[in-house]
């Protein structure tokens, strides 16, 4: 039962203003580039201009001679220490600095260290590298051709195939398709894009020769995991490594992988005994760090003539770039893509994914994807709309007909997941009522008669977050539990540390609110720290919307352990039995005699000054939470667009997001997450792509061409919610940070296709640029 707390306490459901804001609004954040240590020097990477080439020679003499240059590290230097390659989070390996050959444009080739960043920039230009170009592979569809250049000479298997992964029942699914009266198919490409947080990646690596301790300030969404990786790869004793993730200027998955720049800075610091700062530029960020998506997908639905879905069949080609550096749980080379049955009650399904190498930057899991859930949700919501067109059925009606009904939860889907709870009909109804769906359809009919183009797009997504239970989930072998440690001081204030790491999600406030809810200590009295591996309990970090489901749960459980001890102390102080006590946030009181009470503050004081015999002093607890299952947030988004026939521009007239993430800690923060994610979804749907020409030159490698929407392009977002708690989470919460990215691309695309469906259009690939729309209009003869 969730007690309602007062606004002064600020527990669940209160939109208390964020505690972390005070430093940010004064320009007193402490981001990695703000870190300045005595004697600090600066590193800069030298990068390959070629997508595929033999590395003939790397000449560092001129660079080394430049006054102010301390050292230049090459792949050969690293190879001597067995550090030229490093493991990736996908059990592949990646070159730290190139040896032998380079495999993507912008790949790291050398690292110069100088007294200041201006000298480092000059020195980087003086490093002379000789390349011999090799044939380039950029089309993933050609990666498995016998004639394709083999990119990875370091692998035993001499081809570009990384993995084949499948789940579900192929045979039965194929049989159902063979007999199905109605079929719909879509080839949907989810373009390569990039999360581009406003702060780029970087670190300050500080090896102290006097103490033998390595401190790494770094832009890390997972500081403990990074510490362990550095210990294993670098052979440095783990207790001598401290990773500090200070304030992070946005992550969105970009700050989960280990990048060569970090390793080079660490090596440089170990070698020089000086702090070494490495901060990448935006171009480096876009061109070499973890990209997102790049999934070439085909989905088919088999249905009966009444529109009941019978089977889903999915085949995907995954372009991973030159190294498989996607950050995903071990057993899932395609992440959680198998959530692609979505909100629908498919009796049968089969899904297969093949990953290939190409001459592009490595990555794949990023940009609020929940581990490939964005790809899956986009695919199913697109193919459902195509099916609706096949059946000449209203897309809302088709969805309603096939939703997993509320009574079937917990629901086991044919691809293996057990959805915890859902009420898809409820979210859909709220969304359609609020947007005025019937009137919009009428308006569309009228407009079509006049030749005007207007579309309504629906996306009723279900997603899967909160990775994850130890029996199934690990990253590099480390199980995906998470943690919280809470300590109450004698004066009743608290300090908490968690294994997650906020990059803007407001953890300093929301975790405090969980403690406020569970213990009745005002959130203002609860201090929350994350990101310092010397003090925070071990955790797997913040990404894939996992913090509230894992660390949030741990916080609640730890708080409940504290409450259990507090009860003992209260009973002692009140001279009664624990069974006589009732709890309400902030105090225990004797049943039937509420004036006989002890507040949590009085109990905390007693824990240090009047300790019950047999009990230890103090009032604290730690919890490492192994979630029993993932959680399944869901929602319905509706998008209304108008198309300018003269220019092909799509204007989003309205966008309504109805989200269900179970019980909400801070509604204001959730709403903010939705606004931000929808804006990213808008960009993905209409403006963003990192593409490569046939020579492997990156197109869209700076903000000139990789487009981030401004406040002018961004529409006003309407939000609402339903609440279907998670039955297995300590306070029924599910996590929500990625839902808007998961659900919105399909809403945008469905709206545009809906605007043009009467002309016979079934699908347009993202990014839906004005010229793509204009081409369609021209083809259909309807430009103005």
């Amino acid at each position: 039962m969730i007690h309602k707390t007062s606004p002064e306490i600020g527990g669940m459901g209160h939109s208390i203003r964020r505690k972390e804001d005070l430093r940010f609004i004064q320009g007193k954040g402490n981001y990695v580039d703000d870190v300045h240590l005595p004697g600090m020097v600066y590193g800069q990477l030298v990068r390959s201009p070629y997508a595929h080439a033999r590395l003939k020679s790397v000449n560092t003499e001129k660079a080394k001679k430049l006054p102010g240059v301390l050292a230049v590290i090459t792949g050969e230097d690293l190879a001597k220490a067995n550090l030229a390659w490093m493991p990736t989070l996908s059990y592949d390996k990646q070159m730290v600095l190139a040896t032998g050959k380079v495999l993507f444009q912008s790949q790291e080739v050398a690292f110069v260290i100088a007294e200041d960043r201006y000298t480092a920039a000059d020195a980087a230009e003086l490093v002379e590298v000789e390349y011999e170009e090799l044939p380039v592979l950029v089309d993933p569809h050609k990666a498995l051709d016998p004639a394709a250049p083999v990119l990875r000479e370091d692998r035993e298997q001499k081809n570009n195939h990384i993995f084949h992964w499948e789940v579900g029942d192929r045979q039965t699914t194929d049989q159902v398709f063979a007999k199905a009266p109605v079929k719909a198919q879509v080839h949907a490409f989810f373009p390569r894009c990039h999360p581009a947080p406003l702060e780029t990646c970087g670190c300050v690596a500080d090896f102290n020769r006097a103490t033998g301790k390595l401190t790494v300030y770094m832009t890390s969404q997972a500081p403990h995991a990074h510490r362990t990786v550095f210990a294993l790869v670098g052979g440095i004793p783990e207790q001598n490594i401290r990773v500090i993730s200070p304030d992070i200027g946005g992550g969105f998955g970009n700050k989960v992988p280990v990048y060569p720049g970090y390793v080079c800075a660490i090596v440089a610091s170990l070698t020089l005994g000086l702090p070494v700062k490495w901060i990448e530029t935006r171009s480096e960020n876009l061109q070499s760090t973890g990209f997102a998506r790049d999934y070439h997908m085909t989905a088919e639905i088999a249905a009966d003539s009444a529109g009941r879905m019978q089977a889903l069949r999915v085949k995907t080609l995954a372009d991973h770039g030159a190294f498989n550096a996607a950050a995903q749980p071990t057993k899932f080379p395609a992440g959680l893509f198998s959530i692609c049955t979505g909100s629908y009650d498919f009796p049968n399904a089969f899904c297969e994914v093949d990953g290939v190498y190409t001459n592009k930057a490595p990555g794949g899991i990023a940009y609020r994807c929940s581990f490939r859930v964005t790809e899956a949700a986009y695919l199913i919501e697109r193919v459902v709309d195509v099916l609706a067109l096949e059946l000449k059925m209203d897309p809302a009606e088709l969805r309603r007909k096939n939703f997993i009904p509320a009574e079937k939860f917990p629901y086991k889907c044919p691809l293996g997941w057990t959805y915890d709870s859902g009420n898809y009909e409820g979210a859909l109804k709220l969304a359609l009522d609020k947007i005025g769906y019937q009137q919009l359809r009428k308006e569309q009919e009228e407009k079509r008669k006049k030749g005007e183009l207007m579309g309504i797009g629906i996306s009723s997504f279900t997603e899967i977050v909160g990775a994850g239970p130890a029996h199934t989930f690990d990253i590099l072998g480390i199980k995906m539990f998470d943690s919280a440690e809470i300590r109450i001081h004698p004066t009743g204030k608290a300090i908490c540390r968690m294994g997650t790491k906020s990059q803007g999600q407001g953890h300093e406030t929301t975790y405090a609110q969980i403690v406020a809810q569970e213990l009745g200590i005002p959130a203002a009295d609860v201090s929350v720290e994350e990101g310092d591996t010397d003090t925070a309990p071990y955790g797997l970090g913040t990404y894939a919307s996992r913090s509230t489901p894992t660390s949030g749960a741990a916080t609640a459980i730890a708080a409940r352990k504290i409450r259990d001890k507090a009860k003992k102390i209260a009973a002692y102080l009140l001279e009664c039995s624990e069974n006589d006590l009732e709890w309400e946030p902030g105090r225990f009181y004797v049943k039937g005699a509420p004036s006989k009470t002890k507040t949590i503050q009085e109990i905390a004081f007693a824990a240090y000054t009047n300790i019950p015999p047999g009990l230890e002093a103090g009032l604290e607890a730690v919890d490492y939470y192994d979630p029993p299952n993932l959680t399944f947030p869901f929602g319905t988004y509706v998008c209304v667009v108008d198309i300018d026939k003269g220019t092909g521009e799509v204007k989003v007239r309205r966008f309504l997001a109805v989200d269900d993430c179970g019980n909400i800690i801070n509604p204001m923060i959730v709403e903010g997450q939705i606004h931000g994610g929808l804006t990213e979804g808008l960009a993905i749907a209409f403006m963003q792509q990192i593409d490569y020409d046939e020579s492997g030159n990156v197109q869209g490698g700076t903000f000139m061409d990789y487009l981030l929407p401004t406040a002018v392009e961004t529409p006003h977002w309407e939000t609402d919610k339903t609440c279907t708690p998670s039955p297995h989470h300590p306070f029924g919460a599910k996590g929500v940070g990625e839902s808007p990215n998961v659900g919105s691309p399909a809403a945008f695309v469905n709206a545009v296709v809906d605007a043009l469906s009467h002309l016979g259009v079934r699908h347009i690939d993202m990014p839906i640029t004005p010229w793509k729309v204009w081409n369609v209009l021209k083809e259909k003869g309807v430009t103005s």
Binding site: R17, R18, E20, D21, L22, R23, F24, I25, Q26, G27, K28, G29, Y31, D33, D34, H36, R117, Y118, P195, A196, P197, L198, E199, T200, D247, I248, G249, G250, F252, T281, R282, S283, Q503, G504, Q505, G506, M668, I669, E671, G672, Q673, I674, H675, G676, G677, L678, T679, E680, T702, F703, M704, L708, T710, A711, V712, T714, H716, W717
Partner: protein
Amino acid sequence: MAKKQLVRVKVNGRDRQAEVEPRLLLVHFIREVLELTGTHIGCDTSHCGACTVLLNGKTVKSCTMFAVQADGGEILTVEGLIKDGQLHPLQEGFKEEHGLQCGFCTPGMLMSSYALLQNNAKPTEDDIRWGISGNLCRCTGYQNIVRAVQFAAGKMAQGAAK
């Protein structure tokens, strides 16, 4: 290396000076010479606006200027908004309306909003969106930033009325 030049500026009301290379970008001068790290760097093609400060009363992208160009001028950075321990209404607004998440774009947003409100005390939503169109944000989707600026405009109008 080119001859260093003396740059004298008044920053947040305080006289500062240093000898710098002509190529030193104003943003590096602010962050590393003046040690005011509230102004941020988010890109390398002058698109993101995270480096926005006021120079002689006008917003500029400090990454797209050399420090030597600012010689003799007056600079206002985010650190200069607070007066005698009192937050500026814009700072209050950003906190009250949840106009920030990771905080990285926030200093630039505050400076652009500050300039907007100086030129237009009663901006419409469109005015505000246009006024911050040179500042990119990844986290908020801008909606609460608009609310924050509206909050500040309201508060400043009240203050002016007194």
